[in-house]
């Protein structure tokens, strides 16, 4: 009983950290939430991904979004154009996740992400 409560509090705290990253970097937070659930709370991989997706259904970024909107840091047109693609793409991706073992894809994605991060860091601190 107490164990379950501690576990729930831990999950909530981990999500708060994901939230700070979400507001700070303009992302959903799933990139941290999925590994947190798997590594800290021993979720099975598919279950962690499904749980991350349901956590992102309510507009969890709303408070962070208002901070950006107030500062004029939103491109509405591009945003509206991207929304349908992300929705339908998500459907396709979820079917793929159930069918294929995304091992090679994840490797490719990880390497690409790391290089992009490196590029951003270097270009920010040069000059």
């Amino acid at each position: 009983m107490a164990d379950a409560r501690a576990r729930n509090a831990g999950i909530f705290l981990a999500a708060c950290i994901c939230g700070i990253a979400s507001g700070l970097f303009g992302i959903g937070g799933g990139i941290l939430l999925v590994p947190f659930l798997v590594l800290l709370f021993s979720f099975e991989q598919h279950r962690a991904q499904g749980t991350s997706l349901i956590a992102l259904i309510p507009p969890t970024g709303a408070l962070a979004f208002f901070a950006y909107a107030r500062a004029g840091d939103v491109s509405w047109r591009t945003g509206l154009l991207l929304i349908p693609g992300v929705f339908f793409g998500g459907l396709v991706g979820a079917r793929l996740a159930e069918r294929l073992r995304p091992r090679r894809m994840r490797l490719l994605f990880t390497v690409l992400m790391f290089l992009l991060g490196l590029w951003q860091t270097v270009s920010a601190f040069r000059r």
Partner: protein, 134 residues
Amino acid sequence: MILLVLLLGLLVGVLVGLFGIGGGIVLVPAMVYLLGMDQHVAQGTSLFILLPPVGLGALREYWKGGQVDLKAGTLCAGGILLGGYVGGLIAVPLGSRELKGLFGCFLMIGAVLLWRKHGEKNETTSHKRDNMNG
């Protein structure tokens, strides 16, 4: 140009479903490099895109497979909402360059985390898959 943006959204969506992430981690660098946006605007626009439930289609597939923990998900949603407010307050006054550098570091950390979970958890997934086939 419009077609490029629509296609970009579709590609990001596939990654959303495949890895159970929001998609912002791909959207932000894509908008900065492909569409030439400022770092702050890219991040604000990414948050705007994530306001409607873009992951709903993907979630449906996971739900059918019984791969959703509703209670943990609700807790996480609350945490992300609160934390997001704090993060937004930190990010807006930062300079674009500092924010870009921070995001870069975060991307690298995210890549390492994604790689680790892949290395450790692939066994379980393939094991489950074998059970389902057999």
